[in-house]
Amino acid sequence: MIGALTLLLVFQLVGEVLVRALDLPIPGPVVGMGLLFVTLIVRRGPGEQLRGTANGVLQHLSLLFVPAGTGVMLHFQRLADEWLPLSVALVFSTLLSIAVAALLLQRLTHRTHGRGESR
């Protein structure tokens, strides 16, 4: 597990260094994910240990958003002032983008099987 964790951190570190060196507008961990993905394709898959650790971390992905979410307490005043535009925009835009993306991808990939038919 420590070996796998080290590997994840090394890829993140390389990602962070690349982002700064090349002045990319993308966060380091995303570049690290891309590099690890390419590495896995070249090496034809992750080892047992890496797979296990990754699944362990991703199972509790939700937990990792809690500290940033708690930052809501810094913005109570603005949220109280602009709650209507912000909440309507959030709800409608989120629903709309899920619907648009899902319908489009469904159409583009299931043309041959007939629309609306489940796989």
Binding site: I26, S93, L105
Partner: protein
Amino acid sequence: MTPVLGEIWVYLSATPLLGLTLTLLAYQAALWLYRRANHHPLLNPVMLAVIMLVLVLSVTDTSYETYFDGAQFVHFLLGPATVALAIPLYAQWGRLRSMLVPLLATLVAGSLTAALSAVGIAALLGASRESMMSLAPKSVTTPIAMGVAERLGGLPSLTAVLVICTGILGAICARYVYRMLRIDDHAVRGFAIGIASHGIGTARAFQVSEQAGAFAALGMGLNGLLTAASLPWVLPWLERLTG
């Protein structure tokens, strides 16, 4: 408070231990509730944990900065967790390669819908420019969104909150949208929620199936790249266009 309790409190509030432990306790409690309610999407664990933490911090008059001294250790793990998304992604490589063009077309449409519809609705309802620019990158993962908001002239810390709200909303509502539109394919479901509600949507998709999770991770990663590259010039251009 008795003097002894007061002393203990002074000690506790000065170490990172308290913020860290509180975060984990709140999450455990939230998970317990979520499981008791049979994984009902309305009881999203991130939302429950945040509500509990805000209540505890307000009641004890603890500042967010003090709390974050401890919670940053959890926050830090977002980095390696993002890197780890490469593994489920690789597991879906075969299917992914076969639908590359539809995925890219969907990405562009979904990404623009997410950003422009949010800004448009907020503008119609009279939001401030700062809020609109903080809202624009709400569908992508927190670190990218904060960087984009800063470039656009929004408030990065407000963006972090709006991003989390978007994630929770997507995680709660997606299943109803899919049921209504009769979308059954887990690859399609995952990709759409990943585009619209990033990591929290992805976390939710992993609870449904590994395939949904992998496609959500892909949607999240790609939308992060596209949004970072496109919004900083699309929005100023639109602003000039609409005066």
